[in-house]
Amino acid sequence: MRRSSDDRWFRIGTGVFPALVLAIAAGIAYELTTDSMLSIRKFGLSFWTGKTWDPVSGVFGGYPFIWGTLYSSILALILSTPIALGIAIFISELSPRMLRTPLTYLTELLAAIPSIVYGLWGIFVLTPLIRKLEVLTPDWLKKVPLFSGPPVGVGMGTAAVILSIMVVPFTSSVAREILKNVPVAQREAAYALGATRWEAIKVAIGYGKTGMIGAIMLGLGRALGETMAVTMVIGNAPIVSLSLFKPQYTMAAVIANEFTEAADELYLHALIEIGLLLFIITIVVNVLSRLLIWTATRRFARVIVMPAAVEEPEEAVA
């Protein structure tokens, strides 16, 4: 009897800590909501659509920041997705075996470099480079909204480039895992039907499609919340524009810049409401992404148990 009660106490005693993790998640939601109440009450839903951000007269609208966060993240995904998937395919399908580990390590190194170092590099190396490119833009191209605006270097385009570099390792490492877990039989079947190497890879990608989308969304979650590097190169002006040249602003950047300057309560609450919105958006994206990756890996797990499961040819060599 003593033994079973010891086991029960062990379960309860260690169970306090997972409960604490849940409490942290709930605590974040609670704190962000209560500390933004003033702003939520005053502006209601118009906070989402309001374009004026004027701390002096106490008018706060978050639209330019929401726009900046979404636009920069989507641009970053457009740039990073092909590269990240290319890396995943190269490492898992094409590269010689001895290159696999070093390449994996090097691409993951991109995730280890702190955001602030990206930002520093962005200010002093990338921004001047992009400014040169912007100066070279021919006049006819400048009529396109995407390329209008002054060639100052800091702005949406620079932010998107730096974000895309930072997102690549997250997407590629999950995509690589997914590809690694696609049963070899899928590729062999494709080859047996006379597929070329690329066509066989396409079959493997198609098989892991759910997981691939999950990987891309994981990258999106990272891009949405990225703060320092973006703050340092985006120009920090609450402008809503399609232009890549114009300085804009993001939700994370406005919190980083103005939080310590928020003199009155309403200002602080408005900033925390921006944080709340950012929290909600990233939670939704992350939950979706985890669910997709989870479904994908579960599907693989089922397939591997089936009798038709194939031996890994690589294992045989080793």
Binding site: V117, T227, A252
Partner: protein, 282 residues
């Protein structure tokens, strides 16, 4: 051109494009490391480690207070996150099939994706607001909160790698679950768990955003955790966005030191993992 040739060409072109993607990603990595090394190493000197920041206009000075501050912040974070994270990981691996564990696992993964600046706001509300003062303690709490999900997941994964025979042996000898876990299973996985903690430390050591309004910044040397405290990352940020040439130089030096710390932590972890794998191989 025949249909088959065209398909072969497409395949070849796509394979080459995948290689190009790798180069496109490694290019910025090389560029960043090159600039941090060349600009940082030339700006690094003894004064950087031993002296305090000089006021605007005076050249020289260092980041002694920020270096100590970063160490204190990391220490505080580990103090909060390691016990909580490890015990949580132990529970998840011991009762891995319970619905409660699945929920917590999912929550930890999602928490891992919450932007660090949002976690900073939480720490601000938790520690700064009640006493109305920025403090190193708040910064440590923020970093600790960011560390917890990583420690939880690595602990759990590494405990699962412990051979089932060890647990069964302990239980067969009449050990309670508690004894089996703390005297047999955890010690077997400990080197790996410590490695995971190193990785988690490397990850939070580079955080800036959650420190901006928790530990804030301090031009003076302090070890009092109830006071605002300088950190390498916030100091690099302050210097980077300043208009002074000499401060930019210092920012590069700070970035160099940060990258050095983080890379050596992650390389050490990598080597340790490799050794563990070799030891565990039958």
């Amino acid at each position: 051109m025949s249909y088959v040739t065209r398909r072969k060409i497409v395949s070849r072109v796509m394979e080459i494009l995948c290689g190009v993607a790798v180069i496109l990603a490694l290019l910025p990595l090389a560029a960043i490391l090159f600039y941090v090394l060349s600009q940082g190493a030339s700006s690094l000197n003894l004064a950087f480690f031993t002296q305090m920041p000089k006021p605007v206009g005076e050249t020289g000075g260092g980041m002694a207070n920020a270096i100590v501050g970063t160490l204190i912040l990391i220490g505080l974070a580990a103090l909060f996150a390691v016990p909580v994270g490890m015990l949580c990981g132990i529970h998840l691996s011991e009762y891995s099939n319970s619905p409660f564990s699945s929920v917590v696992r999912f929550a930890a993964d999602v928490l891992n994706g919450v932007p660090s600046i949002v976690v900073g706001i939480f720490a601000y509300g938790l520690v700064v607001l009640p006493v109305r003062r920025f403090s190193a303690l708040a910064g440590g709490v923020a970093l600790g909160l960011l560390m917890i999900p990583i420690v939880v997941r690595t602990t759990e994964e590494l405990l699962r790698l412990v051979p089932g025979g060890l647990r069964e042996g302990a239980l067969a000898l009449g050990a309670t679950r508690r004894r089996a876990v703390f005297s047999v299973i955890v010690p077997a996985a400990l080197p790996g768990i410590l490695t995971g903690i190193l990785v988690a430390i490397a990850r939070v050591a580079g955080e800036t955003a959650p420190l901006l309004f928790t530990s804030f910044n301090n031009h003076f040397f302090t070890t009092n955790i109830m006071q605002p405290m300088s950190s390498l990352t916030v100091q690099v940020y302050t210097y980077a966005i300043s208009p002074y040439e000499d401060w930019h130089r210092q920012a590069w030096a700070g970035a160099f030191l940060l990258v050095l710390i983080i890379l050596s932590l992650s390389i050490a972890a990598r080597l340790a993992v490799r050794r563990l794998e070799r030891m565990n191989r039958p």
